[in-house]
């Protein structure tokens, strides 16, 4: 909304620049000059060239009905509107449709998203800044025009700001002529758009703020304001004990397969080829998900594979070619369905290219290595945490005795009916309860045991290799608590509640067994010997 200046970079004072006062003031005057045009109420429109109705419909395939309905609800110029509630799942084009409609209508609006404005104060101040035509720049220290924390202040300030804006819009009407229609805001009604409303439910003061937002229209009692709420969840998920005046709902359904095809075909250099590609692939993939963002990230890699046998990417495929391409792609379809949500780590792509030719078709591309770098001590800590979560505490003594081995465990038991049943219930428990918690001391004990074992073997291997590892407290024991907190913030471990009797906090390892095995393999650590299998 409004012309977007390039973001101002804060200048840190260096000794050179502060010793040279002329430099600073010259820079400031330059900055001041580019900011010298104040914002006017005409900046409250979308800003770019307004688009025609046909362009609007064409740019949103599958949304014709919703666009028409929204245009009807907004109504002709200067018609009052009760609050609207636009909802639908993620990635269905709600925000972009609404904004483009306002571009088409060229009416003034104020947009704020509850994602970027993550607290009531920031939300209120963002709206007021836009209405008061205030721009944050270096000159005013990037502060807002007015400080506003509470809904009561917000209502008063909003009323004032809206009154000013509407007066200037009315003045606009008086002296408007057909010459300058482009860039002039149309109408005397200003619309407030609240996006991502479902996030407000998780705010601290949501029991106050959410009813307040819904009742804002009734509290303000100004017919020159229209409210539009955009949310990912339906209106029945906003439930208050005392109720609220419900806005008019408008639903954005998920795209049909034809709409998806139209959307994915845009900006393709060879539409016919891509269309034959989609013929093959769209249906199986849309059984899993129909969200545009997920499909559009899954397809490019497959498209590359589809086009591999073609020498010229600009040709139009005929039936025979289509069949050939399909048979080339087919073995890759099934595994790629299971990889649809896979995020490619950057450096892996290069490695995969190198190894790609050697791989058989159909084998999954998951690498056997951990895809990111972890320090050795962190890896050991992770393995110890995994063992602590999976094994019951009573086994520690036998597993981690002075020999460091677990060979004493191989006692074969007769599998009677009762023990099979016990095994099943124990498995069920593991499925249901998940990994167990352990106190910090246990983790450190296991860690120390493991690393001491490794160092013995390490020293044996290295022999007289003078790497300078001390026995006992080696470099592997340093900064353990630091490693622990980074594992926690990487979500490999979670911190549970602390028992008030025992006093220490308990941790839980949330890493899957595959991941732990990968990490152990990279350390050449025999993890499976230590895992307790019931």
């Amino acid at each position: 909304m409004g012309e977007e200046e390039s973001p101002q970079i804060t200048r840190r004072t260096t000794r050179a620049s502060s010793s040279n006062p002329n430099l600073n003031s010259a820079a400031e005057t330059v900055l001041h000059n580019c900011n010298s045009q104040p914002l006017t109420h005409n900046d409250l429109v979308y800003g770019d060239e307004p688009i025609s109705f046909d362009d609007l419909i064409c740019s949103f395939p599958g949304r014709r009905i919703q666009i028409l309905e929204l245009l009807q609800l907004l109504g002709p110029l200067n018609s009052p509107v009760i609050p609207l509630f636009i909802y639908g799942g993620a990635c269905r084009g709600k925000t972009s449709t609404v904004l483009q409609i306002f571009r088409h209508l060229n009416r003034p609006f104020v947009y704020s998203s509850c994602l970027t404005c993550y607290s009531p104060r920031i939300l209120f101040e963002s709206i007021l800044n836009q209405l008061l035509l205030h721009r944050k720049h270096e000159g005013n220290g990037y502060s807002s025009a007015k400080r506003c924390e509470r809904p009561s202040e917000f209502v008063n300030l909003l009323r004032e700001a809206l009154g000013n804006i509407i007066n200037s819009l009315k003045g606009n009407m008086g002296k408007s002529n057909s010459k300058k229609l482009v860039g002039q805001a149309k109408g005397q009604i200003i619309y407030l758009i609240f996006d991502n409303l479902e996030l407000v439910r998780d705010w601290e003061k949501s029991s106050n703020i959410l009813p307040f937002l819904f009742m804002l229209y009734d509290i303000m009692k100004m017919p020159e304001v229209g409210l539009i709420f955009i949310s990912n969840t339906s209106p029945d998920t906003y439930y208050f004990n005392t109720g609220y005046t419900e806005p008019v709902p408008l639903y954005f359904p998920e795209y049909t397969e034809d709409d998806l095809r139209q959307i994915l075909m845009r900006n393709q250099c060879n539409p016919k080829l891509y269309s034959s590609f989609l013929d093959v692939l769209l249906r199986p993939f849309s059984r899993i998900t129909r969200r545009v963002d997920e499909l559009s990230t899954a397809f490019p890699a497959l498209y590359k594979k589809y086009c591999e046998p073609l020498s010229d990417l600009g040709i139009f495929p005929n039936e025979k070619m289509k069949r050939m391409l399909f048979s080339h792609l087919q073995p890759h379809i099934a595994p790629s369905l299971n990889e649809i949500f896979r995020v490619e780590a950057g450096h892996n792509k290069d490695k995969a290219k190198g190894k790609g030719n050697a791989r058989k078709a159909g084998v999954s591309e998951a690498s056997d290595e951990v895809e990111f770098h972890m320090s050795t001590s962190a890896k050991y800590l992770l393995i110890s945490a995994f063992l602590a979560s999976r094994n019951p505490a009573t086994l520690d003594a036998s597993l981690f005795d002075s020999t460091g081995g677990s060979d004493n465990r191989k006692r074969k038991r007769k599998s009677s009916v009762k023990s099979v049943e016990q095994k099943e219930t124990a498995e069920q428990e593991l499925l249901m309860k998940g990994p167990g918690t352990f106190p910090l001391e246990r983790l450190l004990a296991i860690y120390q045991c493991l690393t001491s074992v490794e160092e013995c073997s390490f020293d044996e291997e290295q022999g007289t290799d003078g790497l300078g590892c001390e026995n006992g407290d080696s470099g592997l024991m340093s900064d353990i608590l630091l490693q622990l907190s980074s594992l926690c913030s990487a979500n490999f471990m979670s911190k549970g509640g602390s028992c008030p009797l025992e006093g220490s906090t308990r941790y839980r390892c949330t890493v899957s067994e595959d991941m732990a095995l990968k990490v152990a393999r990279s350390l050449k650590f025999p993890l499976s010997k230590y895992l307790y299998r019931r």
Partner: protein
């Protein structure tokens, strides 16, 4: 569902470059929309009869103005029944009658339930009303002293201060300091004040503390949703175009004739019946009428029955069913697995048990839709986002999503309906759900 939606929208802005002219249909639509957004217009209809709430309220307040006494009254009724609208009408009337003798202070429980906020707002409004300087830095004690002093002065000058406390039940939370100080000031100081509390809780006066309740007169006015006859009168009052407006006479006559025809028809009465069965309040009706007016065909310039039908389907939505229809097939599988688990073991279950059930379905029926665990986890998260399922505990981040107990938020019937109306639901899923009953 949206088959009645008339989509003959013409972008009239491009056809009439000069902004002054609007077509007749647009003007009529704007007139109707402004009426629907203006509560005072709607409730003037009910203000003439002598035993209406309007007259009673007017009597209470005007008598306390003329007789120079204090008073308090509660307006109670479900949301959207016109309490504030009627109050505004009464206040407008009183302002016309007694010009300077009335000061109105408006507070809202959503905004001012905190005592500091409330007193600051009272002081600010008093300052605005009497053209005094208001300082934002004034403390709570300053403000409360100011309020008491103003009440005394107004009382001596025979001016009545009317306090309107909207969302009165929210003021009754906590210690009720504001209510107590207000009512106490009214009793001790020579003041002329009326406290009007407005609440949608019918037991709002039971929420008051003993000392506050003793100072509060137990006058209550009950606002009810409209009766059928009132509703009919209301429809005509709102929708019929006025004959003395700037619109040409024959257009108005045609419009009104067509509209009366529709309103008298059987189908329309059915629509109103459906609407009233769910919610009888004014607000609900007004939303319905607003949507209907928005769908008015701007080419012909008249309202049709289709507009009302389209508005009905807009207002009465089934969000969970819509959400189900938009689920992908994998998500439907997960929902059916959860349904089966709920039937089998009423205890809690989590994502891992759902995966087990999914695998067992695949093993017994050899479905073609068997996907890996991470794909199913993502579909599971989609379902959590659109609130078809939810986690039962609130342990937050301490457990991974796979282990947290979940449950379905839709009933068996809704799931059945959703599967039936899904555009490409696999037959196996329907069979599985039907089998369970």
């Amino acid at each position: 569902m949206l088959s009645f939606l008339p989509f003959q929208y013409l972008p009239l802005q491009s056809k009439t470059p000069s902004m002054g002219q609007k077509s007749l249909a647009e003007q009529a639509q704007i007139l109707l929309r402004s009426r629907l957004c203006n509560p005072t217009f709607i409730f003037t209809l009910f203000s003439d009869s002598p035993d209406s709430n309007h007259s009673k309220l007017k009597f209470i307040i005007s008598s306390s103005v003329t007789e120079a006494c204090n008073n308090s009254v509660l307006l109670l009724g479900p949301r959207g029944c016109g309490k504030i609208a009627v109050l505004e009408l009464v206040l407008d009337d009183l302002r016309k009658e007694y010009h300077d003798l009335i000061t109105v202070i408006k507070l809202n429980g959503l905004l001012h339930s905190d005592d500091n906020c409330a007193l600051k707002e009272i002081a600010r409004q008093l300052c605005v009303e009497h053209q005094l300087m208001f300082s934002k830095m004034a403390s709570f004690d300053d403000n409360s002293q100011f309020m008491v002093a103003m009440l005394r002065e107004c009382g001596l000058a025979h001016k009545t201060v009317i306090f309107v406390l909207d969302e009165f039940d929210l003021f009754a939370q906590g210690k009720q300091r504001l209510l107590y100080s207000l009512l106490d000031a009214m009793q001790s100081v020579t003041s002329q004040a009326v406290v009007v509390g407005v609440s949608c809780r019918l037991d709002a006066d039971q929420l008051l503390e003993k000392r506050v309740r003793s100072r509060f007169s137990h006058r209550k006015l009950l606002f009810l949703p409209p009766s059928r006859e009132d509703l009919q009168r209301l429809l005509e009052h709102i929708l019929l175009l006025p004959t003395d407006s700037s619109l040409p006479h024959d257009y108005v006559a045609d419009f009104n004739a067509k509209l009366l025809n529709i309103l008298a028809g059987e189908k329309f009465k059915e629509i109103i019946e459906t609407l009233s069965n769910s919610d009888l309040t004014f607000n609900h009706m007004l939303r319905f009428l607003f949507s209907a007016v928005c769908y008015m065909d701007l080419e012909s310039g008249f309202m049709s029955l289709d507009n009302f039908k389209a508005a009905l389907s807009t207002i009465q939505r089934q969000p969970k069913l819509e959400c189900l229809k938009d689920c992908s097939i994998l998500e439907l599988y997960i929902l059916v697995c959860m349904k089966r688990l709920e039937v089998k073991e009423p205890d809690t279950y989590n994502f891992n048990s759902v995966m087990k059930e999914y695998k067992s379905i695949h093993d017994s029926f050899q479905t073609s839709d068997y996907y890996a665990r991470n794909v199913c986890l993502r579909a599971f998260e989609h379902l959590l986002q659109c609130e078809l399922i939810s986690v039962v505990d609130n342990r937050g981040l301490s457990q991974s999503i796979e282990f947290r107990p979940v449950r379905l938020l839709i009933s068996c019937h809704e799931l059945n309906q959703g599967l039936k109306s899904h555009r490409s639901c696999p037959v196996i899923l329907q069979k599985l759900v039907d089998r369970e009953g």
